[in-house]
């Protein structure tokens, strides 16, 4: 499987009469995008706002962030299983509007354990400096769906609209020569000798909750009943995956599946001739011990016997249950002779080491810990607050105390976080 990413840098987004990539300026027609979004009868109206790094602007709650990309002819459809047939992603050429993002807001805060504000996008100050999203040119999409529809239907409408917009924007670049290309191919992992084989195991969902009706996660499937499965690393990057509506603690966004920090780092090391990138496994955190035993063993066995990995990086999706499954998978791998490094989120709300981990396996000793509980900001009033209704706008108006875990991108679970825990 070979994938070429064709990068078209975007340094500014502007509204204009027609969609057009003019150098590094992306001109966007609101009328065209509105017509596209309103093809879905569940959405009554939609607003668009441009946000750039440094703007005195706050938006939220964020539903998801997507990098605008579109497939060139000859590969899989865009967003297979969601917008097109579920053919294999990760082949052919994909055009990328790098530096840009399509950022969808939601009409209510997600609630759960993430608090009233949900995830907030902040474009200036310390929170913006702490998140990669603070560096992007955002097209904010503010949806207004029909009242009295289910939460599942509403979120499905957000997802479809956001992905359609992201594809449409990028179609403006399909005929333009890209500024840079990147070729993603690990076939030589099977022929280069003497290098350690490294794999990636990523949780893509946690069965702490049932997926919502018709929720798209893996090629449009909701993962219910799924066993851990092999994926080519390119599939993660090229549209096989979107996060569940229920991301928790720090969050996971489509943007960092497309720009997966672990997968891209493994690719970099592979190209540098330091490792052979053996492949990847997508797994799920379990609902109970029975499910846990089955899933963790499947994930470990695939990594050891199908990928023949010498070592694996593991990341989780969600909170405590995923943390437990992550550590059990790592423990199993270590007993099989596969070395591991795991990423956990900060569970220690009392800032004590004893509260930080839900495992104590001597073999699972390489741990990256995303911080979060010790970083809070007092957000000032900003010039523009973008939200789907006046209640949410008032909530986000500031001055506002906010946890770093509620600023999108800061404590991201896919490996993008620059925030870490320091033990002292």
């Amino acid at each position: 499987m070979q994938l070429t990413l064709a990068y078209h840098p975007v340094t500014s987004i502007r509204f204009g009469n027609r969609l057009n990539l003019d150098g590094t300026v992306l001109m966007v027609s609101q009328d065209e995008l509105r017509a596209l979004v309103l093809e879905d009868a569940l959405i009554q109206s939609v607003d668009f706002v441009i946000a750039a790094p440094g703007d005195s602007l706050r938006a939220g709650p964020v539903f998801d962030i997507v990098e605008p990309r579109a497939k060139a002819a000859g590969g899989s459809p865009d967003w297979p299983g969601i917008l097109g047939a579920p053919q294999t992603a990760g082949n052919g050429t994909t055009h990328v509007l790098s530096g840009a993002a399509v950022t969808m807001l939601r009409e209510d805060s997600s609630g759960d354990s993430r608090g009233a504000t949900g995830y907030v996008l902040e474009m200036s100050g310390a929170p913006a400096a702490g998140s990669h999203y603070g560096t992007l040119q955002h097209l904010l999409v503010v949806p207004h769906t029909r009242p009295n529809i289910s939460g599942a239907a509403r979120q499905r409408a957000y997802r479809l609209a956001q992905l359609r917009i992201a594809v449409r924007l990028t179609q403006s670049a399909l005929t333009i020569v890209p500024a840079r290309t990147e070729f993603l191919d690990i076939r030589d992992a099977e022929t280069r000798t003497g290098l350690p084989r490294l794999a990636y195991i990523g949780q893509i969902f946690s069965r702490q909750r049932k997926p919502e009706a018709d929720e798209h996660i893996l090629y449009g499937a909701d993962t219910d009943g799924m066993l851990p499965t092999l994926l080519h690393p390119n599939e993660w990057l090229d549209g096989a995956l979107v996060p569940s509506y229920h991301a928790s603690i720090g969050g996971a966004e489509t943007y960092f599946y497309q720009n997966h920090p672990v997968i891209l780092e493994l690719y970099r090391r592979h190209r540098a001739g330091e490792i052979n990138f053996a492949g990847s496994v997508a797994t799920i955190a379990s609902a109970n011990n029975f499910d846990r035993e089955r899933n963790t063993r499947f994930a470990a066995n695939l990594t050891k016997w199908a990928l023949r990995a010498d070592a694996a990086v593991l990341t989780k999706f969600g909170g405590g249950v995923p943390h437990t499954d992550l550590s059990e998978t790592a423990r199993l791998l270590e007993t099989m002779g596969v070395k591991t490094a795991v990423q956990v989120t900060d569970l220690a709300r009392d800032h004590k080491v004893e509260s930080a981990l839900l495992f104590n396996f001597p073999e699972v000793d390489a741990i990256v810990c995303i911080g979060g509980n010790d970083t809070h900001w007092r957000l000032p009033q900003v010039e523009r607050v973008i939200a789907a209704n006046s209640g949410l706008a008032e909530l986000l108006a500031g001055p506002l105390e906010i946890d770093s875990l509620n600023v999108v991108g800061v404590a991201n679970q896919q490996g993008a976080s620059r925030l870490r825990s320091i033990v002292y």
């Binding site: 354990s113 780092e265 694996a312 800032h351 080491v353 104590n360 770093s404 896919q414 825990s421 033990v423």
Partner: protein
């Protein structure tokens, strides 16, 4: 900068074990190791008062000693309080830790002490104060004082304190956040490659070992036992009367099920953000199994089911909360004469 230094009878030059009963004495200026400490702290620092006390007196009169030391430190208008180094001396270590913690919390000035990791004072106070790792060798006095002085200077200047390894103090078991240059993905792969190559690597978190909980004696006769249901699944009466938080709960509640045979979802709600509550909402017996407990009661398998259940939310809850709540729940159960508890979770 004005420094007050606390020493025991031995380092204060009063004598050995035979002088351990000596009460608190005060000297102007530096004494014993304080002289070198003063040099190492630099020309802008002066040990204005040295406090000396016998180890036995200090341990036996801890409250009086603490009050007296606080008064002396306040009177001396100290900018820094130093105790020790104590090396392996247990009584000296415990008192130094206690005095440093008291001065820090009551007078809000920097404090520093030093002792061996094995000193009982270390485990008692490392969470609250910086304790320089002195090792057990008193001959390393200069080296230990040098690290104490360096760390004290940083504390007085409110500088960021580096890792235990960099600064030479005993890890406090606490966590703080820091933004770093490399993403978590880069750090993960780097750490894994080092592990694969057999090179040293530094984990960002370390596991904690907990003492096993001893098994209580078996119930002699279950048919006479009073059994109570306790859950951390967040089931609370409608309206959540105790306002139990859905995450990192600090409270728990005791709720009546007197005369009730079967829980009705209409009477309850769930304060817990960590699982899909729809199934418990449909039938709360799935979490708090009152219906089957009533069956067991009627069949005579258990003596009786206590007429209240305890509930809290077990999501993202740090041990400092859960330990306290667990003790409170256990005390309550004892008080109610409960023989056995069934814990249900999600």
């Amino acid at each position: 900068m004005r420094v007050v230094h606390y020493l025991n009878q031995f380092f204060g030059g009063l004598g050995g074990e035979e002088k351990a009963g000596t009460g608190l004495e005060s000297r102007d200026g530096a004494v014993g190791p304080g002289k070198l400490l003063e040099q190492l702290l630099g020309s802008d620092c002066q040990v204005v008062t040295t406090l000396i006390c016998g180890d036995n007196y200090a341990v036996e009169n801890r409250e009086a000693l603490t009050a007296a030391v606080l008064k002396k430190v306040r009177t001396a208008r100290a900018d820094l309080f130093v105790a020790g180094p104590c090396f392996l001396a247990g009584r000296y270590g415990m008192v130094s830790g206690a005095l440093c913690a008291a001065v820090q919390s009551k007078l809000n000035i920097p404090v520093i002490t030093a002792m061996a990791a094995e000193n009982p004072g270390a485990d008692l106070y490392r969470e609250f104060i910086y304790i320089v790792d002195s090792g057990d060798n008193g001959a390393k006095m200069r080296d230990v004082l040098t690290r104490m002085a360096a760390l004290a200077q940083k504390l007085m200047r409110h500088e960021t304190i580096g890792s235990p390894k960099e600064e030479g103090y005993l890890a406090r078991g606490l966590i703080r956040d820091e933004f770093v240059e490399r993403t978590a993905g880069e750090r993960l792969v780097d750490m894994l490659l080092k592990k694969v190559r057999g090179e040293p690597f530094e984990s960002e978190m370390s596991p904690t070992t907990f003492a096993p909980v001893p098994k209580p004696p078996a119930i002699a006769d279950l048919t006479k036992a009073r059994v109570m249901l306790v859950t951390d699944g967040g089931l609370v009466p409608k309206g959540n009367p105790d306002k139990i938080q859905g995450s990192a709960a600090t409270r728990w509640g005791l709720y009546s099920i007197k005369g009730c045979q079967d829980l009705d979802g209409a009477d309850y709600e769930i304060s817990h953000g960590g699982y899909d509550p729809q199934f418990v909402r449909q039938d709360p017996d799935r979490l708090v199994p009152l219906d089957v407990m009533r069956d067991l009661e009627h069949e005579g398998v258990i003596g009786e089911l206590h007429e209240e259940f305890i509930s809290t939310s077990g999501l993202s809850n740090p041990l400092s909360n859960t330990r306290r709540m667990g003790r409170e729940m256990a005390a309550k159960a004892k008080q109610l004469g409960i023989d056995a508890i069934i814990l249900t979770s999600t």
